[in-house]
């Protein structure tokens, strides 16, 4: 750290998945020089998985993270499809996996929206913290709080019906799936679907109304121009489970399009910085300075040409009309787009539950064996990349994972910097500053930790350092 800078550290961030730490670097005039979000990323996974047989990988990777085990499970299964030459799945296998994925997207998005960020949206994030919390939501909007729980439960029931147990889920296997959906399971899921659709539409309205009613405050908050990246279907439709890569610049011009995911290293690179365990991916042709990008719901809505379900498409059009069809860069609009995607997931679940292919019995295919493979899917938080090499003895030799939160790494730092520049006054961590930084980070729904959670851990520590790096204040929240 340079001698003429002060450092303020806020750790960990509450109401995001896992925990993180924020450092704000000040110059001699106490102006924000840079803000850094330090993320405790999982380490040692490659060692853990090395030497294990490839067919174990879709189960093993679920241990990476208790928040999104299904995304890792499906990404690893997609990778291992190619190892066994079984990437052209049977209709039953592909649709079972898609159903599982839409269930995962729904439950993840609604947890974030209803229980992590709704206090900010319903009360405003300048509201008294004594009111602006989940209990405040339960007291003032009890129906929304119950909806959040029941929608999440519905998503989990879909996962259970498609992936098996919550721990050690084995639904997806290399080249296919190990079960179909029984008529009883289908009917059980169908009976609540109309209710989910109604609640899904209501959730979009809450997010939309909040954004429009507070537009002057929301629009600049942690906002900046950026590139966006996601998978898209061959015809340009949003596709959360499969597709090819598209990246667009802040004006909406395509940087690359329909890139085969097997060739991602020709288009993306990762930069290492000495202050973070997490890498910083960027688009190779543009370079690290301006080539970073955003992923996740906002980016997916920005990059796709259309959504192939009617209700979500109607909402997408309304959203894109705000910016005359150009990419929307409003960081807090992640919430709105997240709910458009939740609605899309419900529509896709409806479509799939009425498809008799789910009761098919042709579950697995194999073909020509490969040794190296890349798989991508659009996890709730954004593009998830799994890359493996498997030797002739069927053992994993190399694993490289770029998780959604890593893809958003530079963008989250940019949002934190913007908020710190706009809201830091003096060298004190005020409740207001802390709230604003948390709101900005939370917009990305980052998964900041794949750490253990055993009882006795997880304090909130706030540290304040002077310009010489000396600790001058420390606050802890249990």
């Amino acid at each position: 750290m340079s001698e003429n800078m002060k450092r303020i550290v806020i750790e960990p961030v509450t109401r995001v998945e896992g925990h993180g730490k924020v450092s704000i670097l000040l110059d001699e005039q106490n102006k924000v020089k840079q803000a850094r979000l330090h993320i405790v990323e999982f380490r040692g996974f490659e060692k853990f998985i090395q030497g294990r047989p490839y067919w174990e990988v879709p189960v093993l990777v679920q241990r990476l993270c208790g928040i999104c085990p299904v995304s890792h499970h499906l990404a690893a299964a997609k990778a291992m499809d190619r190892i066994v030459g079984g990437e052209n799945l049977t209709p039953t296998a592909e649709k079972m996996r898609r159903l599982c994925h839409y269930g995962q997207v729904l439950q993840s998005h609604v947890l974030h929206f209803f229980h992590l960020c709704s206090p900010d949206l319903l009360f405003g994030f300048d509201a008294d913290p004594a009111i602006r919390n989940i209990i405040g939501v339960i007291n003032k909007f009890p129906e929304l709080a119950v909806q959040g729980v029941m929608m999440r439960k519905y998503g989990q029931e879909i996962i259970k019906a498609t992936a098996g147990k919550k721990i050690h889920g084995t639904g997806a296997i290399p080249g296919g799936v190990n079960k179909n959906l029984s008529i009883e399971e289908r009917d059980s899921l169908l009976k609540d679907l109309d209710q989910m659709m109604e609640w899904g539409k209501g959730a979009v309205k809450v997010a939309k109304d909040y954004t429009m009613e507070n537009f002057d405050m929301v629009a600049p908050f942690g906002t900046f121009d950026s590139n966006h990246m996601s998978l898209i279907r061959e015809d340009g439709a949003m596709d959360l489970y499969d597709g090819k890569l598209r990246a667009i610049d802040p004006e909406g011009n395509k940087i690359f399009d329909h890139v085969d995911v097997q060739k991602y290293t020709d288009y993306l690179l990762e930069e290492v910085k000495d202050w973070s365990y997490m890498k910083f991916p960027f688009i190779k042709s543009i370079g690290p300075e301006k080539g970073w990008y955003r992923v996740g719901p906002l980016s997916r809505i920005n990059t796709c040409d259309f959504i192939d379900t009617p209700e979500a498409e109607k909402e997408r059009k309304e959203f894109m009309a705000l910016t005359d069809g150009k990419p929307n860069q409003i960081t807090l609009a992640y919430h709105w787009t997240r709910m458009i995607e939740a609605l899309h997931a419900i529509e896709k679940i409806n479509e799939l539950l009425h498809d008799s292919d789910l009761q098919g019995t042709d579950l697995v295919v194999t073909g020509k064996r490969r040794e190296e493979t890349v798989a991508m899917l659009e996890a709730p938080r954004g593009t998830l990349i799994h890359h493996y090499r498997v030797n002739k003895d069927d053992q994993v030799e190399m694993a490289n994972l770029i998780v959604s939160t890593t893809n958003n790494n530079t963008a989250m730092n940019a949002s934190v910097t913007k908020v710190a520049e706009d809201h830091l006054s003096g060298v004190e961590i005020t409740e207001g500053l802390l709230n604003h930084i948390e709101v900005a980070i939370r917009a990305y729904d980052p998964c900041l930790s794949c750490a253990t959670h055993a009882m006795g851990q997880m304090p909130l520590i706030i540290s304040l350092f002077d310009h010489e790096g000396k600790l001058i204040d420390k606050k802890t929240k249990e």
Partner: protein, 155 residues
Amino acid sequence: MESGKVLLIGYGNPGRLDDGLGPALAEAISHKKFKDVTVDANYQLTVEDAAEVAEHDVVIFADASVNSEEPFAFKPVIPKTVNTFSSHSIEPEIVLGFAYDLFQAETKGYTLAVRGYEFNEFGERLSSKAQDNLISAVEFLSKLLKTKNFDQFNH
């Protein structure tokens, strides 16, 4: 007094050494097929667990602990109303609080904290001391689930 429907939730990450104590305990108990006992296992507690908890008379939250007494500690849970949570850090008191706040359920809750020692690397094994503690905890819980005499712990 005998309690009716019991829910056991064992949670933790079996890929992170002793953090897998909760699921390991759940698996051991599930094989015993106790009457009116539902056994669940997950990586962590989640908000929707409140809906399941609300359908039972008693819930037992089983987890690894970094600092409980050895070999385990069994204690009643007081429902807690919180301002904030994340799905990594949601705790038994909060799940129980949600069950009451959202579903008006008066489910009685207990924690079974099994002492663990090694957490900070990937690996699918329990340390030998954690394994011993697990055996003691399973023995204790098996006796309790036969009698369902939970009131003895309510003081």
